[in-house]
Symmetry: C2
Subunit: 462 residues, 2 copies
């Protein structure tokens, strides 16, 4: 039975000086006439295991010519190599070919651009960078589940196909089974959705928040973690049409509880990944983003600051910084403002709360000043906003008034409004864009490079 | 600070005879002139906590008239009640109203049909049955993650919006940003998808398997867990248009490894839920499906049997059972056949392997007999098929031949074929429909009742 290379690295004392078997893919191979070295990776661990072989192998001539990415099985003895870079190696007694590779394997040793690697998204996780990215992504996803489940949160699968639009806006993808060459129309040339699969107009969700609120008012603490969609025509390194989002929602809770939860979650998430993927994080720190680990450790060890939007505006107006977007109360903060506040003023994570109601969504709780709402954004150095949330408006009359003010239809929100009629206690929640978090913790700067098979405007390959 | 009712039940010794505070919703309230009882549920635990109050409360007249589902906060002493049904109760010193409820709250004490409750999907998790279902669903989801992560599997988010069709068939939902009243057409009246958001035809995924294979050949062990879609016009208790699926994929592995993994996973999943949700499972066993717990424990403690499809056909032909669908080699097994085999012949879970190639997908590995493929279905009593999987065809020439035979286009699978060119070792995987598993472990018989907000033909409410 082949042993995982991870186990060999993590528990080498169990295997040292013993005959063992491994299986994996050839990452590099160099040989001279009498002996050779193979770096083998089996996908279970970031590092390769070195295999030494020599002409005593029966099939030496075949082995020394094996192309990169061929899969082999190796039997031999694991020995320490105190003078070498790697801590140990296998002295091979037997090497068998499990699956050959063509010589035109695109991931040869030379460095490729990330742009090129996106065109071979089916192969890129075999290289160091993307192997590290996608193992970290997996660990981060599990950290999120573990954090919430350990605290008694119920995981809710909110619907992907939806008739409602959580933000009251947002560009959405239509979902249909219509023959697009023959869409049924009413006499007034409007689409007759009663003929469509669901008997109504349906889109891909932009947020599970409204449904999560219904479940928070049954289970006290819930979270969603699923794909969300934006049909925005933005071809930027930070926008994808399909991305995953985490949306906790807590009942009997206000904005302060919400902030505390977000702070605890971020700290847990970063600690978990640094603990479980030290090799990957060291790699990012060396090759992708120098100073990354120090920055993340700083987050884990600092108390997050909190200021109001109005205080933030004052800080920006007092600063000597030249901003592209002029600062005035009532405007939406731009990334340059957010980064100035977290990087220059606080040098760490900071919440901004109590935003003007006119730049925030209808469901946010109106503060007593009637001009601001109980919103919160978490800003972090290097990124700007990473979390956005709010206490929700639980007062039926205030919520109905907001819906009317914003020109939305009350009937579309009948069940959401009903939540306020039957024991609608105070509650709050937030959204964390999962890819933003992965970019933050790996230092990767393009969202296309933290999604296995990214979907962006003009691109849905694989 | 209010204490979770779960903590009071799980660690009552910490709180007994002390003054504590709880918050929650009124599930029932009965009162006489001088005293009353309230059953309070705060969403953290299946059972309610009983609160006793009497006329010494300042606001006794208001409290005794509170409608069901009002949210209250209670301060009082937790005392043992050795003679009563419940183990303890709170003797209230103070009860405050946190959020009122209208008297027309639809979930009054009387029993409602599941059909009716579907029309109030935003409220149904507040009742016993759906509270239990959706807590079990959350725990089961976490069990899946825990099982795979503890074994070093990498969680992969395969794309939801896709240009490919994993099964080579399958009815799919179209995803588009076209104005449906004005779809751009080519001269031959075909849709001009180059004008659509992604510049090509895109649909909602029916499976992440093909992409998972790419990642298994980088990480050795991976799994997906995400939503999948079928635009099938089937209005049955077992079909939903949107459901979640788990798809592990393992490299350096054959059908036997795959079977072992599926068996271990099922046992872990059922054990985890029975351990973490004993109150909910007892409820299902009493009120939804008598004998449920015994059946699940039987699965956990039995070795899963394994027979070939050909052996299954022989067993069916020798049986004296009257089947609606006559049995002959080459046919697809129907639920009646599957249930006969698992319930009557083996009285437990059984794998059927090596199906005729003509009734299985193109990617399944051709056996040496050239008539059957290395497929596996897991059948369980009461349900029939719950898992379907296979060893994948890793031989490029055989796979290409199968694709051609089935009239599919090789170009559509260029990257999938490439996986076979560059160290394409043997690998295998399977799919578990998450909702089927939840139905199986709760005894719920309609898929609409195990999805928070179900999407089925003609219905996408909420």
């Amino acid at each position: 039975m082949a042993i995982d290379i991870r186990d060999i690295f993590k528990e080498s004392e169990k295997y040292l000086n013993k005959e063992i078997e491994i299986e994996g893919w050839i990452r590099t191979l160099r040989s001279s006439k009498r002996f050779g070295f193979i770096e083998v990776n089996d996908g279970t661990f970031f590092a390769n295991l070195q295999v030494v072989f020599d002409e005593t192998l029966q099939n030496f001539p075949e082995v020394e010519k094996l192309p990169i990415s061929s899969a082999i099985s190796v039997k031999g003895t694991l020995v320490e190599t105190p003078e070498a870079k790697q801590p140990f190696e296998i002295q091979a007694k037997e090497i068998s070919l499990l699956a050959p590779s063509d010589r035109d394997y695109p991931l040869q040793k030379k460095r490729h651009t990330f742009e090129y690697l996106r065109t071979i998204a089916h192969l890129r996780p075999r290289g160091n960078t993307f192997n590290a990215v996608f193992r970290v992504r997996s660990l981060a996803a599990y950290a999120i589940h573990k954090f919430f489940q350990d605290r008694g949160f119920v995981y809710v699968h909110t619907p992907i196909i939806t008739g409602s639009d959580a933000e009251g806006a947002g560009e959405m993808f239509r979902v249909t089974t219509f023959d697009l060459t023959n869409v049924p129309l009413h006499e007034n040339n409007q689409v007759d959705y009663t003929e469509d699969f669901f008997g109504r107009e349906t889109n891909l969700t932009v947020s599970g928040q409204l449904e999560a609120e219904a479940y928070a008012l049954a289970f006290k603490r819930v979270y969603t973690f699923g794909p969300t969609f934006r049909a925005e025509n933005s071809n930027t390194p930070r926008h994808a049409a399909e991305f995953w989002m985490i949306e906790p929602e807590i009942a009997f809770a206000d904005l302060t509880d919400n902030r505390k939860l977000a702070e605890d979650m971020m700290k847990f998430l970063l600690s978990y990944v640094m603990e479980k993927a030290p090799e990957e994080m060291k790699f990012f720190n060396s090759f992708i983003d120098k100073g990354l680990i120090e920055r993340l450790e700083n987050i884990v060890n600092s108390d997050f600051e909190c200021i109001t939007y109005t205080e933030a505006i004052n800080l920006l107006q007092k600063s000597k910084e030249q901003f592209q977007f002029p600062v005035k109360w009532g405007m939406d903060l731009q990334t340059e403002h957010e980064r100035y506040i977290s990087e220059k003023v606080f040098k760490g994570p900071v919440f901004i709360i109590d935003y003007p109601k006119d730049i925030k969504a209808f469901y946010m709780r109106l503060n007593d000043d009637e001009n601001t709402v109980a919103a919160m954004d978490l800003l972090v150095p290097g990124v700007g906003e990473i979390i956005g949330g709010s206490q929700r408006e639980e007062r039926l009359d205030v919520l109905e008034k907001r819906i009317e003010e914003m020109g939305m239809k009350k009937d579309d929100y009948w069940w959401y409004l009903e939540l306020r009629k039957y024991g609608g206690v105070k509650h709050a929640g937030y959204g964390l864009g999962f890819e933003r978090a992965i970019m933050y913790m790996t230092g990767m700067s393009n969202i296309r490079d933290v999604i296995p098979f990214p979907r962006t405007v003009g691109s849905a390959e694989f």
